[in-house]
Symmetry: C2
Subunit: 201 residues, 2 copies
DNA sequence: GGCCGACCAGGACGAATGTCACGGCCGGGC
DNA sequence: GCCCGGCCGTGACATTCGTCCTGGTCGGCC
Protein backbone atom coordinates (compact mmCIF):
# COMPACT_ATOMS: atom_id res chain seq x y z
CA UNK A 1 0.00 0.00 0.00
CA UNK A 2 1.48 3.33 -1.06
CA UNK A 3 1.02 6.05 1.54
CA UNK A 4 0.51 9.53 0.02
CA UNK A 5 0.81 13.02 1.47
CA UNK A 6 -1.06 15.76 -0.37
CA UNK A 7 -0.14 19.47 -0.24
CA UNK A 8 -2.50 21.71 -2.16
CA UNK A 9 -4.18 24.95 -1.15
CA UNK A 10 -7.33 24.82 -3.24
CA UNK A 11 -9.80 22.87 -1.16
CA UNK A 12 -11.79 21.51 -4.06
CA UNK A 13 -8.69 20.38 -5.92
CA UNK A 14 -7.23 18.81 -2.80
CA UNK A 15 -10.41 16.96 -1.97
CA UNK A 16 -10.91 15.76 -5.52
CA UNK A 17 -7.35 14.49 -5.79
CA UNK A 18 -7.57 12.71 -2.46
CA UNK A 19 -10.78 11.00 -3.49
CA UNK A 20 -9.25 10.06 -6.81
CA UNK A 21 -6.14 8.52 -5.31
CA UNK A 22 -8.09 6.70 -2.65
CA UNK A 23 -10.03 5.02 -5.44
CA UNK A 24 -6.81 3.37 -6.58
CA UNK A 25 -6.41 -0.11 -5.15
CA UNK A 26 -2.81 0.34 -4.06
CA UNK A 27 -2.87 3.91 -2.75
CA UNK A 28 -3.98 5.64 0.38
CA UNK A 29 -3.91 9.36 1.22
CA UNK A 30 -2.64 9.49 4.78
CA UNK A 31 -2.30 13.26 5.17
CA UNK A 32 -3.51 16.46 3.58
CA UNK A 33 -2.16 19.95 4.15
CA UNK A 34 -3.12 23.34 2.70
CA UNK A 35 -0.01 25.39 3.50
CA UNK A 36 3.69 25.05 2.82
CA UNK A 37 4.65 25.34 6.46
CA UNK A 38 2.80 22.17 7.42
CA UNK A 39 4.47 19.94 4.85
CA UNK A 40 7.65 18.89 6.66
CA UNK A 41 6.17 18.47 10.17
CA UNK A 42 3.20 16.50 8.87
CA UNK A 43 5.40 14.33 6.68
CA UNK A 44 7.74 13.51 9.56
CA UNK A 45 4.76 12.44 11.59
CA UNK A 46 2.84 10.52 8.95
CA UNK A 47 5.84 9.01 7.17
CA UNK A 48 4.39 8.82 3.64
CA UNK A 49 5.98 7.00 0.72
CA UNK A 50 5.08 9.78 -1.67
CA UNK A 51 4.57 13.53 -1.21
CA UNK A 52 2.54 15.28 -3.89
CA UNK A 53 3.32 18.98 -3.53
CA UNK A 54 1.96 22.12 -5.14
CA UNK A 55 4.50 24.93 -5.51
CA UNK A 56 2.53 28.11 -4.96
CA UNK A 57 1.17 27.65 -1.47
CA UNK A 58 0.45 30.03 1.37
CA UNK A 59 3.47 30.25 3.65
CA UNK A 60 6.48 28.34 2.51
CA UNK A 61 7.03 27.42 -1.13
CA UNK A 62 6.53 23.79 -2.09
CA UNK A 63 9.99 23.76 -3.65
CA UNK A 64 11.58 24.81 -0.37
CA UNK A 65 9.71 22.13 1.49
CA UNK A 66 10.66 19.57 -1.15
CA UNK A 67 14.36 20.21 -0.59
CA UNK A 68 14.10 19.83 3.18
CA UNK A 69 11.86 16.80 2.88
CA UNK A 70 14.29 15.08 0.53
CA UNK A 71 17.02 15.58 3.07
CA UNK A 72 15.20 14.72 6.28
CA UNK A 73 12.97 11.93 4.94
CA UNK A 74 14.88 10.32 2.07
CA UNK A 75 12.53 7.34 2.03
CA UNK A 76 9.80 9.64 0.72
CA UNK A 77 9.58 10.25 -3.01
CA UNK A 78 8.72 13.88 -3.75
CA UNK A 79 6.49 14.74 -6.68
CA UNK A 80 5.76 18.33 -7.71
CA UNK A 81 2.28 19.08 -9.04
CA UNK A 82 1.90 22.63 -10.27
CA UNK A 83 -0.30 24.82 -12.42
CA UNK A 84 2.52 26.39 -14.34
CA UNK A 85 5.29 24.51 -16.10
CA UNK A 86 7.85 27.26 -15.64
CA UNK A 87 11.38 26.27 -16.65
CA UNK A 88 12.90 27.64 -13.45
CA UNK A 89 10.45 25.66 -11.33
CA UNK A 90 11.40 22.43 -13.03
CA UNK A 91 15.08 23.19 -12.60
CA UNK A 92 14.70 23.95 -8.92
CA UNK A 93 12.54 20.88 -8.42
CA UNK A 94 15.24 18.66 -9.88
CA UNK A 95 17.89 20.32 -7.72
CA UNK A 96 15.67 19.70 -4.71
CA UNK A 97 15.75 15.99 -5.49
CA UNK A 98 12.20 15.67 -6.78
CA UNK A 99 11.25 12.38 -8.37
CA UNK A 100 8.89 13.98 -10.83
CA UNK A 101 7.27 17.16 -12.08
CA UNK A 102 3.65 17.20 -13.21
CA UNK A 103 1.45 20.02 -14.47
CA UNK A 104 -2.22 20.33 -13.64
CA UNK A 105 -3.14 20.31 -17.28
CA UNK A 106 -3.03 16.87 -18.81
CA UNK A 107 -5.45 14.12 -17.94
CA UNK A 108 -6.08 12.82 -14.41
CA UNK A 109 -5.64 9.29 -15.63
CA UNK A 110 -1.89 9.85 -15.80
CA UNK A 111 -1.57 10.87 -12.17
CA UNK A 112 -1.61 7.47 -10.51
CA UNK A 113 0.62 6.04 -13.22
CA UNK A 114 3.12 8.86 -12.77
CA UNK A 115 3.26 8.21 -9.04
CA UNK A 116 3.95 4.51 -9.61
CA UNK A 117 6.68 5.26 -12.13
CA UNK A 118 8.32 7.74 -9.76
CA UNK A 119 8.22 5.14 -6.98
CA UNK A 120 9.95 2.73 -9.33
CA UNK A 121 12.83 5.19 -9.53
CA UNK A 122 11.98 6.83 -12.81
CA UNK A 123 12.18 10.61 -13.19
CA UNK A 124 8.75 11.60 -14.42
CA UNK A 125 8.93 14.74 -16.54
CA UNK A 126 7.09 16.00 -19.57
CA UNK A 127 9.71 15.91 -22.38
CA UNK A 128 8.50 19.20 -23.91
CA UNK A 129 8.88 20.87 -20.53
CA UNK A 130 12.37 19.50 -20.06
CA UNK A 131 13.38 20.89 -23.43
CA UNK A 132 11.98 24.30 -22.55
CA UNK A 133 13.84 24.30 -19.24
CA UNK A 134 17.11 23.49 -20.93
CA UNK A 135 16.70 26.01 -23.73
CA UNK A 136 15.77 28.75 -21.27
CA UNK A 137 19.06 28.34 -19.43
CA UNK A 138 19.66 28.99 -15.75
CA UNK A 139 18.48 32.01 -13.81
CA UNK A 140 20.72 34.95 -14.81
CA UNK A 141 19.51 37.17 -11.98
CA UNK A 142 21.44 37.55 -8.74
CA UNK A 143 19.73 37.13 -5.40
CA UNK A 144 19.46 40.85 -4.87
CA UNK A 145 18.04 41.42 -8.32
CA UNK A 146 15.37 38.82 -7.63
CA UNK A 147 14.50 40.44 -4.33
CA UNK A 148 14.25 43.90 -5.82
CA UNK A 149 12.15 42.61 -8.70
CA UNK A 150 9.81 40.79 -6.33
CA UNK A 151 9.42 43.93 -4.28
CA UNK A 152 8.62 45.90 -7.43
CA UNK A 153 5.89 43.49 -8.51
CA UNK A 154 3.09 45.21 -6.61
CA UNK A 155 3.67 48.65 -8.09
CA UNK A 156 5.94 49.96 -5.35
CA UNK A 157 8.06 52.99 -6.15
CA UNK A 158 11.84 53.02 -5.91
CA UNK A 159 11.63 54.72 -2.52
CA UNK A 160 9.26 52.03 -1.21
CA UNK A 161 11.54 49.22 -2.29
CA UNK A 162 14.59 50.97 -0.89
CA UNK A 163 12.92 51.34 2.48
CA UNK A 164 11.71 47.74 2.54
CA UNK A 165 15.12 46.28 1.68
CA UNK A 166 17.16 48.84 3.64
CA UNK A 167 18.94 50.10 0.54
CA UNK A 168 19.57 53.43 -1.08
CA UNK A 169 17.30 54.53 -3.90
CA UNK A 170 20.24 54.66 -6.26
CA UNK A 171 21.07 51.01 -5.57
CA UNK A 172 17.52 49.92 -6.19
CA UNK A 173 17.49 51.76 -9.50
CA UNK A 174 20.70 50.03 -10.51
CA UNK A 175 19.38 46.57 -9.65
CA UNK A 176 16.17 47.24 -11.54
CA UNK A 177 18.12 48.45 -14.53
CA UNK A 178 20.28 45.33 -14.44
CA UNK A 179 17.24 43.06 -14.23
CA UNK A 180 15.58 44.88 -17.12
CA UNK A 181 18.73 44.41 -19.18
CA UNK A 182 19.13 40.72 -18.36
CA UNK A 183 15.51 39.98 -19.20
CA UNK A 184 15.69 42.01 -22.41
CA UNK A 185 12.63 44.00 -21.46
CA UNK A 186 11.76 47.68 -21.50
CA UNK A 187 10.65 48.41 -17.96
CA UNK A 188 10.25 46.87 -14.52
CA UNK A 189 6.73 45.59 -15.19
CA UNK A 190 7.82 43.60 -18.23
CA UNK A 191 10.87 42.42 -16.32
CA UNK A 192 8.72 41.09 -13.48
CA UNK A 193 6.47 39.28 -15.95
CA UNK A 194 9.40 37.75 -17.80
CA UNK A 195 11.05 36.60 -14.58
CA UNK A 196 7.79 35.09 -13.35
CA UNK A 197 7.16 33.30 -16.64
CA UNK A 198 10.54 31.63 -16.30
CA UNK A 199 10.04 30.73 -12.68
CA UNK A 200 12.85 32.91 -11.42
CA UNK A 201 10.90 34.53 -8.61
CA UNK B 1 -30.92 12.15 -13.63
CA UNK B 2 -29.26 15.56 -13.65
CA UNK B 3 -27.24 16.21 -16.79
CA UNK B 4 -24.15 18.35 -16.16
CA UNK B 5 -21.91 20.35 -18.48
CA UNK B 6 -18.41 21.10 -17.19
CA UNK B 7 -16.27 24.04 -18.39
CA UNK B 8 -12.80 24.15 -16.85
CA UNK B 9 -9.42 24.62 -18.48
CA UNK B 10 -7.20 22.72 -16.05
CA UNK B 11 -7.29 19.14 -17.26
CA UNK B 12 -6.67 17.58 -13.87
CA UNK B 13 -9.31 19.67 -12.15
CA UNK B 14 -11.81 18.99 -14.92
CA UNK B 15 -11.21 15.27 -14.86
CA UNK B 16 -11.37 15.05 -11.09
CA UNK B 17 -14.62 17.02 -10.92
CA UNK B 18 -16.19 14.90 -13.64
CA UNK B 19 -15.25 11.75 -11.81
CA UNK B 20 -16.55 13.15 -8.58
CA UNK B 21 -19.92 14.14 -9.99
CA UNK B 22 -20.32 10.88 -11.85
CA UNK B 23 -19.97 9.12 -8.51
CA UNK B 24 -23.19 10.81 -7.37
CA UNK B 25 -26.19 8.61 -7.91
CA UNK B 26 -28.34 11.28 -9.50
CA UNK B 27 -25.78 13.08 -11.64
CA UNK B 28 -24.15 12.53 -14.97
CA UNK B 29 -21.52 14.64 -16.74
CA UNK B 30 -22.69 14.75 -20.34
CA UNK B 31 -20.16 17.23 -21.73
CA UNK B 32 -16.76 18.69 -20.86
CA UNK B 33 -15.13 21.71 -22.48
CA UNK B 34 -11.80 23.43 -21.85
CA UNK B 35 -12.39 26.81 -23.51
CA UNK B 36 -14.99 29.54 -23.22
CA UNK B 37 -15.84 29.50 -26.90
CA UNK B 38 -17.09 25.92 -26.77
CA UNK B 39 -19.56 26.45 -23.93
CA UNK B 40 -22.64 27.71 -25.76
CA UNK B 41 -22.40 25.47 -28.86
CA UNK B 42 -21.77 22.37 -26.75
CA UNK B 43 -24.56 23.23 -24.35
CA UNK B 44 -27.06 23.75 -27.19
CA UNK B 45 -26.14 20.34 -28.50
CA UNK B 46 -25.99 18.41 -25.25
CA UNK B 47 -28.87 20.17 -23.50
CA UNK B 48 -27.65 19.88 -19.91
CA UNK B 49 -29.71 20.69 -16.82
CA UNK B 50 -26.74 22.36 -15.14
CA UNK B 51 -23.67 24.17 -16.49
CA UNK B 52 -20.71 24.43 -14.12
CA UNK B 53 -18.50 27.18 -15.52
CA UNK B 54 -15.07 28.50 -14.61
CA UNK B 55 -14.60 32.24 -15.30
CA UNK B 56 -11.01 32.56 -16.41
CA UNK B 57 -10.88 30.35 -19.47
CA UNK B 58 -8.96 30.54 -22.72
CA UNK B 59 -11.04 32.33 -25.33
CA UNK B 60 -14.30 33.72 -24.09
CA UNK B 61 -14.93 34.50 -20.42
CA UNK B 62 -17.19 32.16 -18.52
CA UNK B 63 -19.30 35.13 -17.42
CA UNK B 64 -19.94 36.10 -21.02
CA UNK B 65 -20.94 32.58 -21.90
CA UNK B 66 -23.15 32.41 -18.81
CA UNK B 67 -25.16 35.41 -19.95
CA UNK B 68 -25.74 34.02 -23.43
CA UNK B 69 -26.50 30.57 -22.09
CA UNK B 70 -29.09 31.92 -19.70
CA UNK B 71 -30.82 33.62 -22.59
CA UNK B 72 -30.64 30.90 -25.22
CA UNK B 73 -31.09 27.88 -22.94
CA UNK B 74 -33.22 29.05 -20.01
CA UNK B 75 -33.89 25.47 -18.94
CA UNK B 76 -30.22 25.19 -17.95
CA UNK B 77 -29.17 26.36 -14.50
CA UNK B 78 -25.81 28.14 -14.62
CA UNK B 79 -23.36 27.75 -11.76
CA UNK B 80 -20.08 29.68 -11.62
CA UNK B 81 -17.08 27.88 -10.13
CA UNK B 82 -14.03 30.11 -9.81
CA UNK B 83 -10.69 30.36 -8.07
CA UNK B 84 -11.14 33.95 -6.99
CA UNK B 85 -14.14 35.31 -5.15
CA UNK B 86 -13.84 38.79 -6.59
CA UNK B 87 -16.77 41.08 -5.77
CA UNK B 88 -17.13 42.21 -9.38
CA UNK B 89 -17.25 38.62 -10.59
CA UNK B 90 -20.09 37.80 -8.24
CA UNK B 91 -21.98 40.89 -9.30
CA UNK B 92 -21.61 40.12 -12.98
CA UNK B 93 -22.54 36.49 -12.41
CA UNK B 94 -25.79 37.52 -10.76
CA UNK B 95 -26.55 39.95 -13.57
CA UNK B 96 -25.90 37.15 -16.03
CA UNK B 97 -28.61 35.13 -14.35
CA UNK B 98 -26.38 32.61 -12.61
CA UNK B 99 -28.03 30.30 -10.12
CA UNK B 100 -24.98 30.15 -7.89
CA UNK B 101 -21.41 31.23 -7.31
CA UNK B 102 -18.88 28.83 -5.82
CA UNK B 103 -15.19 29.27 -5.08
CA UNK B 104 -12.66 26.50 -5.52
CA UNK B 105 -11.62 26.71 -1.92
CA UNK B 106 -14.06 25.09 0.43
CA UNK B 107 -14.66 21.35 0.59
CA UNK B 108 -15.64 19.20 -2.40
CA UNK B 109 -18.40 17.66 -0.38
CA UNK B 110 -20.43 20.84 -0.79
CA UNK B 111 -20.32 20.78 -4.56
CA UNK B 112 -23.03 18.24 -5.27
CA UNK B 113 -25.22 19.73 -2.56
CA UNK B 114 -24.81 23.21 -4.03
CA UNK B 115 -25.85 21.94 -7.45
CA UNK B 116 -28.97 20.34 -6.03
CA UNK B 117 -29.90 23.49 -4.13
CA UNK B 118 -29.41 25.62 -7.24
CA UNK B 119 -31.62 23.25 -9.22
CA UNK B 120 -34.27 23.66 -6.54
CA UNK B 121 -34.32 27.37 -7.33
CA UNK B 122 -32.12 28.58 -4.51
CA UNK B 123 -29.40 31.17 -5.17
CA UNK B 124 -26.25 29.52 -3.83
CA UNK B 125 -23.78 32.13 -2.60
CA UNK B 126 -21.25 32.32 0.19
CA UNK B 127 -22.68 34.93 2.60
CA UNK B 128 -19.27 36.45 3.35
CA UNK B 129 -18.65 36.88 -0.36
CA UNK B 130 -22.02 38.53 -0.87
CA UNK B 131 -21.24 41.00 1.88
CA UNK B 132 -17.89 41.83 0.32
CA UNK B 133 -19.51 42.37 -3.07
CA UNK B 134 -22.05 44.76 -1.61
CA UNK B 135 -19.57 46.72 0.46
CA UNK B 136 -17.21 47.09 -2.48
CA UNK B 137 -19.91 48.80 -4.53
CA UNK B 138 -20.29 48.71 -8.29
CA UNK B 139 -17.52 49.18 -10.82
CA UNK B 140 -16.67 52.92 -10.90
CA UNK B 141 -14.58 52.62 -14.06
CA UNK B 142 -15.97 53.46 -17.48
CA UNK B 143 -15.59 51.02 -20.35
CA UNK B 144 -12.70 52.95 -21.84
CA UNK B 145 -10.91 53.15 -18.52
CA UNK B 146 -11.20 49.38 -18.18
CA UNK B 147 -9.85 48.84 -21.66
CA UNK B 148 -6.91 51.15 -21.15
CA UNK B 149 -6.15 49.57 -17.79
CA UNK B 150 -6.26 46.09 -19.27
CA UNK B 151 -3.94 47.14 -22.04
CA UNK B 152 -1.53 48.59 -19.47
CA UNK B 153 -1.41 45.37 -17.45
CA UNK B 154 1.44 43.79 -19.38
CA UNK B 155 3.84 46.68 -18.98
CA UNK B 156 2.99 48.43 -22.22
CA UNK B 157 3.99 52.07 -22.57
CA UNK B 158 1.51 54.85 -23.25
CA UNK B 159 2.47 54.81 -26.94
CA UNK B 160 1.82 51.05 -27.17
CA UNK B 161 -1.63 51.37 -25.63
CA UNK B 162 -2.49 54.34 -27.82
CA UNK B 163 -1.57 52.40 -30.94
CA UNK B 164 -3.49 49.31 -29.86
CA UNK B 165 -6.69 51.22 -29.07
CA UNK B 166 -6.33 53.80 -31.87
CA UNK B 167 -6.15 56.69 -29.46
CA UNK B 168 -3.87 59.63 -28.87
CA UNK B 169 -1.17 59.29 -26.25
CA UNK B 170 -2.59 62.22 -24.33
CA UNK B 171 -6.00 60.54 -24.11
CA UNK B 172 -4.47 57.35 -22.80
CA UNK B 173 -2.64 59.28 -20.11
CA UNK B 174 -5.89 60.95 -19.09
CA UNK B 175 -7.75 57.64 -18.82
CA UNK B 176 -4.92 56.16 -16.79
CA UNK B 177 -4.92 59.15 -14.51
CA UNK B 178 -8.68 58.85 -14.02
CA UNK B 179 -8.40 55.14 -13.23
CA UNK B 180 -5.59 55.80 -10.77
CA UNK B 181 -7.73 58.42 -9.08
CA UNK B 182 -10.85 56.25 -8.89
CA UNK B 183 -8.93 53.31 -7.44
CA UNK B 184 -7.13 55.56 -4.95
CA UNK B 185 -3.76 54.25 -6.04
CA UNK B 186 -0.45 55.86 -6.93
CA UNK B 187 0.38 54.51 -10.37
CA UNK B 188 -0.94 52.31 -13.16
CA UNK B 189 0.50 49.11 -11.74
CA UNK B 190 -1.32 49.53 -8.44
CA UNK B 191 -4.45 50.57 -10.31
CA UNK B 192 -4.37 47.39 -12.39
CA UNK B 193 -3.93 45.27 -9.27
CA UNK B 194 -6.77 47.00 -7.45
CA UNK B 195 -9.11 46.67 -10.42
CA UNK B 196 -8.24 43.01 -10.80
CA UNK B 197 -8.75 42.30 -7.12
CA UNK B 198 -12.26 43.69 -7.40
CA UNK B 199 -13.06 41.79 -10.56
CA UNK B 200 -13.44 44.92 -12.68
CA UNK B 201 -11.30 43.69 -15.55
C1' DG C 1 49.08 38.79 -5.62
C1' DG C 2 45.67 39.66 -9.57
C1' DC C 3 41.17 38.94 -11.36
C1' DC C 4 36.30 38.65 -11.19
C1' DG C 5 31.62 39.02 -9.72
C1' DA C 6 28.25 40.31 -6.25
C1' DC C 7 27.13 44.02 -3.46
C1' DC C 8 26.36 49.15 -2.35
C1' DA C 9 26.12 54.10 -3.47
C1' DG C 10 26.23 58.73 -5.90
C1' DG C 11 25.54 62.04 -9.95
C1' DA C 12 23.85 63.41 -14.35
C1' DC C 13 20.86 63.03 -18.17
C1' DG C 14 16.88 62.11 -21.26
C1' DA C 15 12.62 59.73 -21.51
C1' DA C 16 8.39 58.29 -19.63
C1' DT C 17 4.78 59.03 -16.32
C1' DG C 18 1.09 61.39 -13.67
C1' DT C 19 -1.56 65.72 -12.90
C1' DC C 20 -4.08 69.62 -14.18
C1' DA C 21 -6.55 72.94 -16.92
C1' DC C 22 -8.62 73.54 -20.96
C1' DG C 23 -11.12 72.67 -25.14
C1' DG C 24 -14.51 69.96 -28.27
C1' DC C 25 -18.25 66.35 -29.67
C1' DC C 26 -22.12 63.49 -28.71
C1' DG C 27 -26.32 61.22 -26.43
C1' DG C 28 -29.59 60.87 -22.57
C1' DG C 29 -32.49 62.82 -18.95
C1' DC C 30 -35.10 66.60 -16.84
C1' DG D 1 -33.89 73.97 -24.23
C1' DC D 2 -30.36 72.91 -20.52
C1' DC D 3 -27.31 70.01 -17.92
C1' DC D 4 -24.52 66.10 -17.31
C1' DG D 5 -21.48 62.36 -18.24
C1' DG D 6 -18.81 59.71 -21.36
C1' DC D 7 -15.63 60.28 -24.95
C1' DC D 8 -11.34 62.39 -27.36
C1' DG D 9 -7.77 65.61 -27.73
C1' DT D 10 -3.93 69.44 -26.52
C1' DG D 11 -0.39 71.79 -23.73
C1' DA D 12 2.26 72.58 -19.59
C1' DC D 13 4.38 71.01 -15.52
C1' DA D 14 6.67 68.32 -11.71
C1' DT D 15 7.88 63.79 -10.59
C1' DT D 16 9.49 59.39 -11.45
C1' DC D 17 11.97 56.06 -14.19
C1' DG D 18 15.74 54.02 -16.77
C1' DT D 19 20.56 54.48 -18.38
C1' DC D 20 25.26 55.36 -17.94
C1' DC D 21 29.47 56.31 -15.52
C1' DT D 22 31.94 56.59 -11.49
C1' DG D 23 33.46 54.98 -7.22
C1' DG D 24 34.05 51.69 -3.21
C1' DT D 25 34.09 46.94 -0.23
C1' DC D 26 34.09 42.06 0.12
C1' DG D 27 34.85 37.10 -0.85
C1' DG D 28 36.32 33.38 -3.99
C1' DC D 29 39.45 31.52 -7.43
C1' DC D 30 43.68 30.78 -10.03
Amino acid sequence: MTRVLLAEDQGMMRGALALLLDLEEDMEVVAQVASGDEIVPTALEAGPDVALLDIELPGRSGLDAAAELHERLPSCTVLILTTFGRPGYLRRAMEAGAGGFLVKDGPVEELAGAIRRALAGERVIDPALAAAALSAGPNPLTRRECEVLSAAADGSTVADIAARLHLSGATVRNYLSAAIGKTSTRNRVEAVRAARRNGWL
